[in-house]
């Protein structure tokens, strides 16, 4: 099936939804209709994406254009198929989520219009067939996302977060333009598939420069460390569905860009390019989760977790590129496949978690961990859905996060096949870093699920939480998707293997899925694992305690007594772990990274309580902000100060500039 008409249908649906939102978004019925149309568009995008995955690269379709910007060309590639399908899934889930989340108002109508246009722009980025289409769509997407974040522009942190997003997006855009310009100039064409075909025309140095520029530029959007600073500022301040879209899809557009340059446009390169990418990914993953453990706000915590997962995906891509440099084509394709699978998985469970964070925020009025607690009893369905998402993101079996991380690890463990001792050691180091990240992720998500949902409510608002009239359809759909991606992993992997054959030319299916249910990592006799059988096994094993209980239940009278609490008078919520104390061990162990600054304020030196309270404050140093961004910003401000005298405001000076410029132009022409 040709995916392009289906995707055109999706785009039309989103355009129609935008119109509906802008005109009648201030009524509840208008919002419902807009979301229904948007959801249909999402379904079409999902179908189109899957079809693009399976049917290979479509032909390039020219859709008009102008002399100034060139032709608008579209092509649905297999690589983009995963991302388009993910966009479709997120669109459907958001469409189910929005009606109960947003209050109908004029601002909501505008917001939904912008949202649908942003989805349309993202689709355009993914199906762009030439450089100009890509860049125009990219910039449009960035601006629309900026407007998306600004749903409540009068709040100060919203404006700051949105500004960070736009500023760093633009800096990245400069690098992306430079990368594309290099390639287009050297291959004398603007069409992406022709650039890929003529990649050999670009000499080694230019290839490296283009790739590094692309890695930096797309890294800004994806959230690679140290280019990630905007992510924890921008994602939390957007409304929940906006944050979900940003984390679930927009960061993946950065990943798509890196994959485009690394695997399609410039597939072959020196090994150090892959090692650099892998190292960047591993560092990103570790730093992302370490900072996530230090957060008291649910959405900032999830934003840092996004950084961690992006790091994992980029590590997989980097290792794939390294393997290709040593001729290991199977592992090259395998790790690309594993990375793309992780893209789909992360998109599904991160969107779910952000949507649930929005539900919690609306139910309790707060986003801080230390003000929540005991929500499992008060919001049972939301807690079950969040639990599915948490299991997925903590990469615990049998869910989808586990399958994709297992694949990535198995690929990394085969580093010895490169034949170079140094590179093999570096790959193992990356695997070790991912292992640390995985452990910390479980720790972080025990905190992320346990503190809000389990235990006793820590405040009255948490005790009064209720999930009546809260959106549930959207998160439920995503939870079902997570489970389906896990249990149906063989189907998913078979589809991805088809796509990989188009992208890389490597036939992965026989060495990936020899039977129909077992997955092996590209080489037999290394390891194997069956996600479906694992799920069945875990379900069967969890039946054992149930059976033991049923068989061994006391037949005589039994007595129910409260949980043993040490005989204290009453259990108070403040006796529980707080989010920050739970993660205190990491702050102690990694204090070289956090460099906490501690301030203690006491009325006198008497022991606490006899002279008044003691005020204790500990703050982790924002390393990248302080040591990288602030100096760069200060340097630019200095430069602006130096240059300011040019703008004196004096008309005569400006006329002199015009005269001088014309004079210089004559002189140059004369030479």
């Amino acid at each position: 099936m040709n995916p392009l008409p289906v995707l055109a249908g999706a785009a039309a649906a989103w355009g129609l939804a935008t119109l509906i939102a802008l005109t009648c978004g201030s009524t509840r019925a208008g919002i419902r209709v807009c979301c229904a149309v948007s959801g249909l568009g999402g379904g079409a995008a999902l179908a189109g994406g899957v079809s693009a995955l399976l049917s290979g690269n479509s032909r390039v379709v020219s859709a008009g254009g102008s002399v100034v910007v060139g032709t608008l060309q579209l092509q649905a590639t297999s690589l983009a198929g995963v991302f388009v399908a993910l966009l479709g899934l997120i669109a459907v889930a958001t469409a189910a989520y929005v009606p109960r989340y947003h209050e109908p108002s004029h601002a909501t109508g505008l917001y939904l219009g912008v949202f649908n246009l942003a989805m349309l722009a993202s689709l355009a980025v993914l199906v762009a067939g030439n450089v100009v289409t890509f860049l125009v769509a990219w910039e449009t997407m960035a601006l629309l996302c900026y407007l998306l974040i600004l749903r409540r522009p009068r709040r100060s942190e919203v404006a700051a977060g949105a500004f960070w997003f736009l500023a760093l997006s633009e800096v990245g855009f400069v690098a992306i333009v430079a990368a594309f310009v290099i390639l287009a100039a050297k291959t004398h064409t603007m069409q992406l598939d022709l650039i890929a075909a003529r990649a050999h025309l670009v000499s080694g140095d230019w290839r490296v420069a283009a790739y590094l520029l692309a890695l930096t530029g797309f890294g800004f959007k994806a959230g690679l460390v140290p280019l990630h600073v905007w992510l924890p500022e921008a994602h939390p301040v957007a409304p929940a569905d906006g944050s979900a879209f940003l984390s679930g899809l927009i960061t993946k557009l950065g990943v798509y860009g890196i994959a485009l340059f690394g695997f399609v446009l410039l597939p072959s390169g020196p090994a150090w390019r892959g090692v650099l990418t892998m190292a960047a990914g591993a560092v990103t993953a570790a730093i992302g989760i370490l900072y996530a453990l230090n957060e008291r706000d649910i959405k900032r915590f999830l934003a840092f977790s996004t950084i961690e997962n992006i790091g994992i995906i980029i590590t997989a891509f980097g290792a794939a590129m390294t393997f290709l440099a040593y001729g290991q084509r199977l592992l090259w394709a395998f790790l690309l496949l594993a990375g793309l699978y992780h893209v789909a998985n992360h998109g599904s469970y991160k969107t779910l978690l952000f949507q649930e964070a929005g539900v919690i925020e609306h139910a309790t009025g707060t986003r801080e961990f230390d003000r929540l607690g005991g929500l499992a009893h008060r919001m049972p369905r939301s807690s079950v859905i969040s639990f599915v998402g948490t299991l997925g993101i903590a990469a615990l079996p049998p869910l989808n996060g586990f399958v994709s991380e297992w694949l990535i690890f198995q690929g990394l463990f085969q580093g010895f096949r490169t034949g170079s001792h140094l590179v093999a050691i570096l790959i193992v180091l990356a695997a070790g870093t991912l292992g640390l990240t995985g452990g910390l992720a479980v720790y972080a998500f025990v905190r992320g699920y346990g503190i809000p949902f389990l235990g006793m409510p820590r405040t009255r608002q948490a005790a009064a939480a209720s999930e009546a009239r809260q959106p549930q359809a959207g998160p439920t759909l995503l939870a079902v998707a997570c489970v389906a991606l896990a249990v149906g992993a063989p189907v998913m992997l078979a589809g991805l293997a088809r796509a990989l054959r188009t992208i890389t030319g490597v036939t992965l299916r026989p060495v990936l899925l020899p039977g129909n249910l077992t997955v092996i990592p590209a080489h037999t006799k290394f390891s194997g694992f069956s996600p479906t059988w694992l799920t069945v096994f875990l379900l069967a094993v969890s039946a054992v305690p149930v059976l033991i209980y049923l068989a061994g239940r006391p037949r005589g009278a039994s007595r129910a007594e409260p949980v043993w609490d040490g005989g204290i008078v009453a259990f108070k919520p403040r006796m529980q772990y707080s989010a920050m104390t739970f993660s205190a061990p990491t702050r102690v162990m990694f204090d070289a990274l956090y460099q906490p600054s501690v301030s203690v304020d006491r009325a006198s030196d008497e022991p606490a309580g006899s002279s008044g309270p003691v005020h204790y404050e500990s703050e982790a140093t924002p390393i990248f902000e302080r040591y990288l961004y602030r100096p760069v910003i200060r340097a630019f401000e200095w430069l602006a100060d130096v240059v300011r005298p040019i703008q004196s405001g004096d008309v005569n000076l400006y006329l002199f500039y015009v005269f001088a410029a014309v004079l210089v132009a004559y002189l140059i022409a004369a030479l």
Binding site: R559, E561, P562, W564, D565, G567, I568, V569
Partner: protein
């Protein structure tokens, strides 16, 4: 057991049946939870010595446990200070049945302290006590004897003593 429809056991036979059941359940493996309801801790020091090499209660199959859920026997010392009564009751309730309560030391048995606004003067009113161990503090040997009486491995000796000396002074 008579040949009539209902079984009619004498008090004596009941007690014997109970002792046999208790010995069967706890005779070789008993987990003890100690509870201090306001004592001077002398009894606690003697109880601690039970785990030391000289007295070694582990050789008899007895163990200390802090968790009431895992305990079989509650060893109570102290005169039951009123402020502690709630916690003591909670501890008793948290121990699963069947359980044994042993009151240890003169304070718990009603000596030393009279009932007043701060203390009950003894633990008899708070729990149903099974074995009473006198002493101030009871030596570890007395404690061992008390525990063995509680699980039915030794017979209760004191009921046959009369504390009256007959004949020449010792």
């Amino acid at each position: 057991m008579t040949s009539q429809g209902t079984t009619e056991l004498t008090v004596q036979e009941n007690a014997e049946e109970l002792r046999r059941t208790v010995t069967r359940l706890f005779g070789r493996s008993l987990h003890i939870r100690t509870l201090d309801t306001g004592s001077c801790a002398s009894c606690e020091q003697e109880i601690r010595l039970l785990a030391a090499p000289h007295y070694d209660l582990h050789r008899l199959g007895f163990f200390f446990t802090p968790a009431p859920r895992h305990a079989d026997l509650l060893m109570v010392t102290g005169p039951m200070v009123r402020a502690f009564e709630n916690a003591a009751r909670k501890t008793y309730d948290a121990i699963p049945d069947p359980k044994i309560v042993v009151a240890t030391g003169a304070c718990a048995l009603g000596g030393v302290y009279q009932p007043d606004p701060f203390t009950h003067g003894g633990v008899g009113g708070t729990f149903p006590v099974d074995v009473w161990i006198p002493g101030c503090p009871p030596s570890p040997l007395a404690l061992l004897q008390g525990l063995l009486v509680a699980v039915g491995r030794l017979a209760d000796k004191v009921k046959d003593l009369d504390f009256a000396l007959n004949g020449t002074p010792r």
